[in-house]
């Protein structure tokens, strides 16, 4: 914007606001002052561009996402994303840790779906090791169980935060209420509410604790009562539908060109779900349906998520029945060169190494001690090569490109995160719409910034 003198420029107190001369004319940076006093000096130039910066710290941008919106009145003419505000260097950090320790890092990427991060990485490592068929069935079943529980909790947060961002605060509170139930199960099974690092190359870290089967069955029964509440509250709610219907439109062609997968793709009516089309962890043996919707909009994505939670409950039920029959089966590959000797137990100060195991390595067998030491400090070697085994995360295709140089540490791990890819659709979905619809469109993509920036 170029103009002559303007009164507010002298009154500006904020050190971050002010006026600067650029190649395109004078630019006013406004951070919360009185708009009238600024606009007073620019009357003849008022039809110029208004660029609004939203974020990276904004309550409606789904995390530390920065949006740069060019507005014409209330209409968005151009929308761009600024990302990287949560870049953590996880991929680089993994290169300095052993293959097993890598799980600890990647679980913290997309923090709403930790089990999917872990599983895609571990499946890649297992393919490199050539032990894909040796992983015990119980470990695979537990992975499926945890992933489907995780899908429920992730979709609940997607619906909850999406609701909060459009002002439906009750949707948020009930979403977090149900999520707590899933987190209680996670805590029972893995010991942690989030960031579990539970899936390991070769299996999972621990067997199911006693009582877990009953707890999961109780949870499924409770969820079957609670999930209809969401449908009753939202599905036909005129305000909810008014905000979501027709907003964030993206058809199949757009999805494929921009690489979008997950609920966004399925809301176009295309039943692409890696669990069905390229099964892993034994998904082909479970009975479930791929949920689709045909409106290509935010409302469709909400309905797909809601329906997917029902399907996840079906899978959880089947997995629980199988696990009930597999009591005492191993959850780690038999190869002791890969399986971490990590029998854990609940001690007086929380979870720690099992005393029996410590007695064995410290008091009974020198070889066991050497083996334990070698495996834990040095780690196992993974033959050189590369692998890419994607999984269907709650947000779409999540894959880890795992490269090994034959060493004890990953040479390079790159995660193809669905949040990162799907977020590219922001501009296509929101340009030409209203400012308020940008929020709805982004919430319907459900990006998790930890996964976007890694």
């Amino acid at each position: 914007m170029s103009t002559t003198d303007h009164p507010a420029a002298h009154d500006v107190q904020d050190v971050y606001a002010g006026t600067s001369e650029t190649g395109e004319g004078r630019v006013f940076t406004v951070t919360g002052q009185d708009w009238d006093s600024i606009a007073a000096g620019l009357d003849h130039e008022m039809d110029d561009r208004v660029v609004v910066n939203m974020g990276p710290q904004h309550p409606s941008t789904h995390g530390v996402l920065r949006l740069i919106l060019e507005l014409e009145g209330e209409t968005v003419t151009e929308a761009r994303c600024g990302i990287g505000y949560l870049h953590t260097g996880i991929e680089k950090n993994m290169e300095f840790r052993t293959w097993t320790q890598g799980v600890t890092f990647c679980t913290r990427m997309d923090y709403l779906s930790p089990f999917f991060n872990e599983t895609t990485y571990v499946l890649g490592v297992e393919r490199l090791l050539g032990i894909e068929d040796d992983v015990p069935e119980k470990a695979q079943t537990m992975r499926v169980l945890l992933m489907e529980l995780n899908r429920i909790s992730s979709h609940l947060v997607a619906i909850a935060t999406g609701g909060m961002e459009i002002g439906a605060l009750t949707v948020m509170t009930i979403g977090f209420r149900e999520r707590e139930l899933v987190l209680d199960l996670f805590e029972l099974i893995t010991g942690l509410r989030m960031n579990h690092a539970f899936v390991r190359p070769g299996g999972v870290a621990q067997d199911l604790p006693p009582g877990a089967i009953d707890e999961i069955r109780g949870f499924v029964a409770l969820m079957r009562e609670r999930l209809p509440e969401y449908a009753a509250l939202c599905n036909a709610n005129p305000i909810f539908k008014g905000r979501l219907e027709g907003v964030g439109h993206l058809d199949l062609e757009g999805c494929l060109a921009l690489g979008l997968t997950g609920p966004v793709l399925r809301s176009t009516g295309y039943p692409w779900d890696l669990r069905k089309t390229q099964p892993y962890c034994g998904y082909e043996t479970y009975d479930f349906d791929v949920q689709t919707w045909d409106t290509c909009d935010s409302y469709g994505r909400f309905r797909v998520r809601l329906a997917e939670m029902w399907e996840s409950l079906r899978i959880v039920e089947q997995a629980t029945d199988r696990l009930a029959r597999m009591e005492g089966d191993p959850v780690m590959v038999a190869d002791r060169k890969i399986a971490w000797p990590s029998q854990l137990a609940i001690g007086s100060d929380g979870m720690g190494n099992s005393l029996d195991h410590i007695r064995h390595i410290m008091g009974e067998s020198m070889e066991a001690l050497i083996h334990h030491f070698k495996l834990v400090t040095e780690g196992f070697r993974v033959p050189a090569g590369q692998a890419y085994v994607p999984v269907e995360s709650p947000r779409g295709e999540l894959g880890a490109h795992v490269v090994s140089d034959g060493g004890t540490k990953p040479y390079r791990v790159h995660f193809r995160d669905p949040s990162f890819t799907n977020l590219q659709a922001t501009s296509v979905m929101s340009e030409g719409g209203m400012v308020a619809d940008v929020i709805v469109a982004i919430a319907s993509i459900d990006p998790v910034m930890g996964g976007v920036d890694r």
Partner: protein
């Protein structure tokens, strides 16, 4: 992996080291690094008695026909169609390893090959899962690898396309025109590895701040940690500790 050690033997028998040429012949293997000693500890002495041990690191060698399953089908169609377009030498080698097929493509022909892969009815790789980059400082003449994972939903197939660029000339043609999803992925690869994607609409940093020096995920870029002080001691950052490889 440079200067580290002991892969347990599976990488040995590398034959002669090809000098900066690109692999085309099946069975020919490129050594990308060497390991010294038994455990690969760096910075401190090797007391194992195997300090003089040198083993080579090599990536899986190019495969010979038949590749098996639908791999041959895809390779046949690709060979025929590239031949028709005068791109006979576009595919430098095919690696079939662990049930995955990788086409090594000459970087000049990358865009044409990807367009073929996307558009040909018998190939139809409609969806790209993005760009990953790998930095192999020991792979002389082709240090930077750009890896594309393509998915054909029509045929339910997944392939990998790989192209390389030397460190001295880190340029790869941009494929945004074929797969618009590569927009951010190429920016990320540029940000992290310094790979310049020629023809990209706006190749700027995406994850790191705009004024950041260097490309953090290259192997010659340090992890950048700081020593951590505990009561009575200091622990160096993970990349400076004694470790094995």
């Amino acid at each position: 992996m440079s200067g580290e050690t002991s892969p347990g033997g599976q990488a040995g028998e590398a034959g002669q080291v090809p000098s900066g040429t690109l692999p085309a012949q099946p069975g020919e293997q490129r050594v990308v690094a060497e390991r010294h000693g038994l455990f690969g500890a760096r910075g401190t002495g090797d007391t194992s008695g195997f300090g003089g041990l040198v083993t080579t690191v090599a990536l899986p060698r190019p495969s010979a026909r038949p590749y098996g399953g639908w791999f041959d089908e895809v390779a046949d169609v690709l060979e025929r169609r590239t031949g028709e377009q005068g791109l006979e030498h576009a595919v430098l080698g095919v690696v079939v390893d662990r049930g995955e097929i990788t086409f090594h493509v000459r970087r000049e022909d990358l865009v044409a090959v990807l367009r073929l892969l996307r558009d040909d009815p018998a190939l139809r790789f409609e969806l790209s899962s993005g760009v990953s980059a790998v930095h192999l400082p020991g792979d002389a003449g082709r240090e930077l690898h750009a890896v594309y994972h393509l998915l054909s939903m029509t045929h339910n197939r997944r392939i990998r396309v790989e192209t390389t660029a030397p460190d001295a000339d880190p340029h790869v043609p941009s494929t945004v025109s074929v797969y618009p999803t590569h927009d951010w992925h190429e920016r990320e690869a540029y940000d992290m590895f310094g790979l310049v994607f020629d023809g990209h609409p706006a190749l700027t940093r995406i994850l790191m701040p705009d004024d950041w020096p260097g490309h953090p995920q290259r192997k010659d870029y340090p992890l950048g940690g700081i020593p951590v002080e505990y009561k009575g001691g200091t622990v160096p950052p993970p990349d400076q500790r004694r470790s094995y490889s």
